[in-house]
Symmetry: C2
Subunit: 229 residues, 2 copies
């Protein structure tokens, strides 16, 4: 086998959803070349660990959080100069999390780990802004073939919270009537007998996910055509 | 930067569709460790070429074919022993082609390049059967969010040919009436005034793709819910 000078890294594109806003998890390192820039959690793969193990380890080391399921997003390696030190390809992973349920505890190598609103990001190291852009594209398209919300909303929530989650990720107003009709037709939402007061309007009914149906649709796919207002 | 002993390869998962059958393009090498096994076209990435360039080069060298658009499929690297010589991760690329329009001209390093029916594959080197399985999964799911057929069918074709393409990739009988209604509703097919005699039935009308609408839907996505018979 010929010699090769390419390094292999993994990076985690972790989005958080909270209070109708989409956030991205970034870190700032204490040492090294890009120590003054913000970047995605990630780093070099070790020889004896799988890619998925590597991204979980890096995420844990740099931010303190553990996420059960990170989905492979994309491998960046067309630009051979994306890291000025040496050629590095990056296998990126995507996750969507609830910041309130995760406590950030970065290791001593990290200056800070922080959630940023995706609309107010600092300037990023390397080509990480491209990674985030790819992640947002994937998130948007996921909405049309998988149900999203289970791990992000409270156990019981008014319908408007689910609607806002979709609106936030898509960055557009939905056709609300059509959205509600579609979502209800999948059978993933159950009505509870509870209501909650919201603002000045009538109290809103609370819903919860039917876990079994939700997980089934997550696997099968939903083919959910989204209509905008 | 720490030393790392991981090599980076690319492999091409190229499916062919012809006569209601799905084929996969495989090669057999003359030299080296796996010279008696069939495998996907592919190989080590060179230091000075992007990943996409690498897979196009390998495909051209090993099979003689050129495919404009290969889509990134998946990066395999969780199993650190997938290559017994040294650790290798593989970035795989997917394409769907018409074997009749491509002439196989393998280089001198290759014993043979050949299309195999996916249901009659030989035993494969490394974990390449996993790559092909992933490719088939992706193809199936692509059918529900992108139109497929433009580069695979004749310029003018009876509707049954498109139906057979979908049936072949999905490996299932379709609800034909629903399929026809859905496809026609996208406006990607145009009727011609021509008919063709097929077997003993009535002559069948010929259709052609509306290229512009087809390409638009390829970008936008179609969210095509497939109903089975």
């Amino acid at each position: 086998m010929k010699n090769q000078n390419i390094k292999v890294a993994v990076d985690a594109v972790v989005f958080g959803y909270e209070k109708e806003q989409l956030f991205i998890l970034l870190v700032q390192k204490k040492f090294g070349k890009s120590s003054n820039a913000w970047m995605l959690p990630g780093g070099m793969v070790q020889d004896d660990e799988g890619l998925q193990t590597a991204v979980n380890r890096e995420l844990k080391e740099e931010t303190g959080i553990e996420i059960n399921y990170l989905e492979q997003l994309y491998t960046f390696g067309n630009d051979i100069y994306r890291d000025s030190r040496t050629r590095v390809i990056s296998i990126t992973y995507l996750a969507l999390a609830n910041p309130q349920k995760l406590q950030l505890k970065p290791s001593s190598k990290i200056k800070e780990a922080k959630w940023f609103n995706v609309n107010e990001m600092p300037s990023l190291a390397y080509d990480h802004s491209k990674f985030i852009k790819k992640g947002i594209e994937r998130l948007k398209s996921k909405l049309s073939y998988q149900p999203i919300g289970f791990d992000l909303l409270d156990d019981e929530f008014p319908f408007s919270h689910l609607e806002n989650l979709y609106k936030t990720i898509l960055g557009k107003e939905l056709d609300r009537r059509n959205f509600r009709k579609k979502i209800m037709s999948f059978g993933i939402l159950e009505e509870t007998n509870k209501k909650v007061s919201m603002g000045s309007g009538r109290p809103a009914k609370l819903f919860r996910f039917n876990k079994q149906k939700y997980r089934a649709l997550e696997k099968e796919g939903i083919y959910f055509e989204i209509k905008y207002a």
